[in-house]
Amino acid sequence: MSDQYAVIGKSHIKVDGHAKVTGSAKYTFDMVLPNMLYGKILRSPHPHAKILKIDTSLAEKMIGVKAIVTGKDTLGHKNGPWRRFPELCDEEILCREKVRYIGDPVAAVAAVDEDTAEAAIDLIDVEYELLQAVFDPLEAMKEGAPKLHEHAERNINVTRRIEWGDVNEAFEKCDYILEDQFHTSSQAHLCMETHGAIADFGYDGKLTVWTSTQSNYYIQVLLAGMLGMREGDVRVIKPPSGGGFGSKFELDSAQFCSALLSQKLRRPVKIILTREEEFTATKRKTPMYYYVKVGAQKNGTLLAKEVRVVTEGGAYTAMGSTALYLTGFYSCMPYKWAHYRYDGYRVYTNTAPTSALRGFGAPQAYFAGESMIDMLAAEMKMDSIEIRRKNAVTPHYEVPGQAYIQSCGLNECYDAIEKYMKGRWKLPPNRGIGIGNYAFMSGGIFNWFNTPYAFSAAMVKINIDGKVDLFTGACDTGQGSDTTLAMICAEELGVHLEDIRVHAEDTDLGPADLGSWGSRETLMNGNAVKMAAADAKRQLLEFAYAKMKPNVVYDLDIKDHKIYMVDRPERYVSYFDIVSDVIRAKEGQTIIGRGHYTPHRKGMVSPAWSFGVQAVEVEVDPETGKVKLIEIVTAHDCGQVINPIGVLGQVEGATMLAAGGAFCEDQPMDNGKILNPSIGDYKVLRSVDMPKTVGIEVDTYEPEGPFGAKEAGEGLTSSTAGAMANAVYNAVSVRIRDLPITPGKVLKALKEKKEKGKKEK
């Protein structure tokens, strides 16, 4: 497969590598502009309160303080990414009348240095009227619970439902029925570069913002809306970004407050969130209550599944509405359920808003789902791979009314896992292997943001010396989209990766792109880039046809700087010569190619699906309850691999993040206050904790993707928690239904099992 390609399918040093290993990459965190001020944000210490009065007089008098803004200095707009539904755009950011979680911004200060700004914050006096608060979504839905937003009765923020068939009728026909409940926890993104922005509002009324972001387009649009500005007058530039993972594609307090302050002062203002603010006042993973009922028949067929979910929404909608929808969709995957019903509720609570974290509802869905499949398998006395393989989706399957699956390598993934695990199933005591699998989207088809633009677009510019400039809107936060897209461009255009310079960070220079989230860049932006490169290539080939005059039945193509006859590759002309000729022919214009991509008629969810099967081996210490990760093997289908070393990095990184969420990361709260807002207290996997990870790519080709490629990186986080829960069960026969799987929970379950004296299911 890869031999046919000159660039893709082979590992390349990433295009931003040299800057990063030499320390010369300048992040927003590093940037200093002339005349720049530093900002800090005052945040609510209460989970729910009315703002009665804000007295900034003492702070204003401090030497070095240049400006202070509060909600009164805003236009009073509320923002949110679901712009199609105005009532879901519910976040003022700088609160005017009410605060709804501990950390909700109330004021912001710009001063000559950070220390002065921080001291000034302490001098701002806010008078609050405390309101009753509610922290658990099940409590928040009860009659009489304190109301967070006027429009949301019972604090029900969003509901979503997905249904086909008739589950009630189908359950009657089932030989095995299981019902159970699960709970998934919060998780912090812990990007190594915290949220931050430098806003520079000029005297010409135009705003430039440098910020660490996954979507400079979203920030541009949302910020323009909040400031009452024309979108085009807001320019958002993304320098090299230190991580995103779902936390950085919504308008955040650093961006909004720095813009407001800069607007007032007409000087650049820089706000970088502290690690504590990062933990407490940025979006986090959506905790979910899962209620699942599954039914199967004697012959091994999974027949009916009913799911009810309540998610802890936190104080504002954010992208939690998308997580609510997606988790309901992933709950039916990757199996052919003939009957399915999902009812999802997102409920407001007085806690930090919950939104997207790598997986975006899938890790939660597959934790509950994959646990239940193993439980069913045990009841039905089927092997855990056998039950999955028998019911797995296949190529060209249609999830009724929802999605059409083209390429699907699940079967090959099961084969690969079975082959790898052969002879390893017999284990010493307290060791277990658990299986989990997943299907994941390659970008969503929905336009809840209500953009008028193509979802992805790209422009290719060829210079006289053959060097190529690639303009896209894809935001590389470390996942390697700059390199992946440059490789796709190089492959299509027949040049080397070194010939391409990627420009993907400036809303003024590049076309709009929805951003790096929902695993959309490789497929959607990749298609746009391929189309742009093909457009530029066509302009070169037109000229080459005229020059080489091959018979009309013969094709020309470009590879390795040679424009050659496909059937007679020994006949070629130089790419560089043709470039020069074409520019002359076009009256000296640079060669420009354009491309774009928006999925049309691709179902309700995504144009393509990646798949994977994961085997997790653990060792449980029955004395302490501690779970040790031994090995994690993932066989996955991402279509054509573009950059193998990039994919390996995604497999290993995703595994670490997912494993962390499954067994050690959590944000326990007390009355809405996060108790562990520091890296010392928030437990993550470190180098000594990482188990051996193996990634096995199975070979498929996705017609919808560029060169057959699909996503690789988010789906890989989805199955780990379920596989781990299954592994722990196989090791010590206790089933944990509440993430994270901590030693305390394992010990408690072991004790209960001992006391009950029978196997727990």
């Binding site: 590598g17 030499t22 320390g23 915290t194 090299p240 690690r275 290993e652 990184g653 470190r686």
Partner: protein
């Protein structure tokens, strides 16, 4: 209020006047403009600020600048020699041992400190050497592979 501070950074001697509470990482980043070394937490727990001080990998956010008076410090900017990348940097590039890059400076300095002191560490020792450096992107294993490759002599120092 300011006190005199003399230190050598990446082979270059500096004479500065700093306030007593200034941290070493602040001097490196703000006074000397060496922004390769980063900051990411307030609790000296993440390791992105790691530099080599008198041969030891240290968290520069947990040291007062004045405590480093007279010290020899190497930051990520000092790894390359005369425009040629250090073997560790070349290995990191080949093994894809970075993604967002924010932890990379700390990883490289921790790795260099280890290999300068112990030319044949075990895998366990390699993992322990970067135990104080959090990476949120790579899952660490690519960094281990890069360090192991250098240890095995796959990357010779370029003249």
């Amino acid at each position: 209020m300011r006190k005199e501070l003399r230190l050598t950074v990446n082979g270059q001697p500096y004479e500065l006047y700093v306030k007593p509470k200034t941290l070493l990482v602040e001097v490196l980043r703000n006074n000397l403009g060496l922004t390769g070394t980063k900051r990411s937490c307030e609790s000296s727990s993440c390791g992105v600020c790691t530099v080599i001080l008198n041969g030891m990998a240290v968290k520069s956010c947990s040291i007062l600048a004045l405590q480093a008076d007279g010290a020899e410090i190497t930051t990520v900017e000092g790894l390359a020699n005369d425009g040629k990348l250090h073997p560790l940097q070349r290995a990191f590039l080949d093994y894809g041992a970075y993604q967002c890059g924010f932890c990379t400076a700390g990883m490289l300095t921790s790795a260099k400190a280890l290999l300068d002191e112990n030319t044949k560490p075990t895998e366990e020792q390699i993992r322990e050497a970067i135990d104080g450096n959090i990476c949120r992107c790579t899952g660490y294993n690519s960094i281990i592979r890069a360090m192991t490759a250098v240890m095995n002599g796959e990357y010779k120092e370029e003249k």
